[in-house]
Amino acid sequence: MKFWEIGKRNLKEIYRNPVLLGFLLGMPLAFMLVFCAAAGGGQAGPIGMSVVDEDLSQTSSAFVQNLGSVEAIELNEPIYSEKSQAREDLENGKISFYLLIPSGFEVAQQTQQTINLELVYKASDPMIGLQLKPIIEAVGSEFLGVTPPLNVELKGTESEIKNMAVNFYFPGIAVFGLMILISTAAGIIAGDREKGFLARMFTTPARPWDFILGYSLPFIPVLIVSTLIYLGVGMALGLTVVGNLGHAFLIFFLIGLCSIGIGMIVGSLVKSESQAGVSWIFIVPMAMISGTMFTVERMPAAIKSVAGALPFIHATDASRAVLNGSSFSAIILDLYWLIGWAVVLFATGIVLFRRTMVS
């Protein structure tokens, strides 16, 4: 097992280098402390919202119209009359959330009873509900002139979640942090290429996959420890785990593997450690469009398509969903996507590495 020997060498080179080790393990900690502790930021621009109007009254219709006029909200077409249809679209990913106006809405308004609305959203995007609830309550209460005020109930599996912001930011920050493995993995390969160590190893009877596996291997413990740090610090900062922690770990592990795979590709292509910095040209935009920091709901369709084709948004979506209570079956497609990408990336890395072994 030649890859094991190469892997052992790389493992020792990393773990005996305090600066590199400090960076690799200190980074997740710093990321979580900085971002999650500062969590709770707002968003700009309108949020697309779907509505289910079960009351189908003049008042409910006017209420919907009024919501549509609010700057922060953009009403999606059509306005549903059946809750089941909206639920289906939500589960199929066609919409992110909907506001349910129940039958009896007009009567409750006219008789000055408490009006209960429901804001139902997918588990992977709880921030939307958190942001919209106060807006709808304020605007709705003023428009309807109801006392006691309008009450918007957030409906999602995350009802037990204590700090919605942390639950939104944590998975994104963890995925972003794991994306940085791209740069680190690429830098280590490129550094060995620059120093001539790879050329020396290329004169030995080792195959391309021995190198790809050998350079990936040391990152597996880094990946496991990083993920544990993310989860541990996240929970200390108020992360609520409603779903299965093991599933969340699996998602982070897979996106970490994808990042290492991309790092292997970049490391195969660049000639020096400084050139490996080029991976940030990929990392930063990917983080932006993959829902790591903010929801992608309002991004143009083309960008959403690009993000959807890549693995990262599947990791952020699936990890948010599973932490907020989604079942394994709800994230299975995301997992397939991540596994597929990991296989493709490592296979590509091996092909590219083979090409670089002989100039």
Binding site: K2, E5, R9, E13, R16, A199, T203, P205, R207, V358
Partner: protein, 306 residues
């Protein structure tokens, strides 16, 4: 079968010919040195023989295995100590040797046995457990050669094995390389004349990608040097005598009472007798032994290379 054979081996980089139709035959057990100025094509040749560079034209074989068609088979047979001392800096000697040995398919016991032997031979046993980043240049170079040897290769490539070492460390490395003579086929590149002279069975002088001279050190010195030289320490040399000598011999140099005369068939006794006959005081006179450097400069010229 030759241990190493090249067939019109050629490498071009963007139209620049680095190695130009090199034909070499190196016998089993021979220590062959490729000598040449900077950029002559020594390292490029070695890189092609080690399967790191694909020849533009021509090919080469190591113990009958073609470097282009069956590189994996070639890599099993060779050991390489690259020009820059390339080690895993945070690994100790044992670990560096184990890495190369095991990638060559040696068992743990084999690696241990070979490593012990090599560390003793190379004088590294005392520091064997230290991370090699703390080593001196000479120690690193010795470890690099040990790494090239740990798999017990049949053909050893040593690319500038003493580059940048102080004289003591250089002598030490030479002794180790000399100890391998006859046991391994060794192809060594260097631009240190005395290194090639001291170590080599045969020398190939390479310049601008071509092998321009080939033979033993003695053959090169005797066959290729067009002129011999003698040095005479004198007093009261007259202008007439100098003019007369200049007319008879190819080149004269005069500095601080030392007259140096160059000529193809130098008549030592005739010159001394002539000086005496002209009343010139001769304190001493000696024929100069040609050096490999004389051969090298004569063949490759004095033009600076990059």
């Amino acid at each position: 079968m030759n241990a190493v054979q090249t067939f019109k081996l050629t490498k071009e980089f963007d139209g620049l010919v680095a190695v130009n139709g090199v034909d070499l035959e190196i016998n089993k057990g021979e220590l062959f040195s490729l000598l040449g100025p900077n950029g002559a094509g020594k390292t490029t040749t070695i890189r092609m023989l080690c399967c790191l560079l694909k020849p533009t034209r021509g090919t080469a074989s190591i113990l009958g295995h073609d470097v282009v068609r069956v590189p994996f088979a070639v890599k099993k047979l060779i050991g390489v100590s690259p020009q820059d001392t390339i080690l895993s800096e945070r690994l100790n000697c044992w670990e560096n040797l184990a890495l190369i040995g095991k990638v060559h398919g040696l068992s743990s016991d084999e690696v241990k046995g070979r490593s012990e032997e090599l560390l003793e031979t190379m004088g590294l046993m005392e520091r064997a457990k230290d991370q090699v980043r703390k080593f001196s240049g000479g120690m690193k170079r010795r470890l690099s050669i040990a790494m090239a040897l740990v798999s017990d290769p049949q053909v050893l490539f040593l690319d500038e094995p003493t580059l940048g070492l102080d004289p003591q460390a250089r002598r030490n490395v030479w002794e180790h390389i000399a100890g391998l003579k006859g046991k391994k086929t060794i192809l060594l590149t260097t631009h240190y004349m005395e290194e090639a002279d001291y170590l080599s069975d045969r020398i190939g002088i390479i310049d601008e990608g071509r092998v321009v001279a080939l033979g033993t050190s003695q053959e090169l010195k005797t066959n290729l040097l067009e002129m011999r030289s003698m040095v005479v320490s004198t007093e009261n040399l007259t202008a007439e005598v100098l003019e007369d000598l200049r007319a008879k011999y190819s080149r004269l140099e005069m500095a601080k009472g030392r007259l140096k005369i160059y000529h193809k068939d130098l008549d030592f006794k005739g010159i001394v007798d002539y000086l005496h006959s002209q009343g010139v005081t001769v304190y001493s006179a000696a024929l100069e032994q040609p050096t490999l450097e004389d051969v090298f400069i004569q063949i490759t010229g004095k033009k600076l290379r990059d």
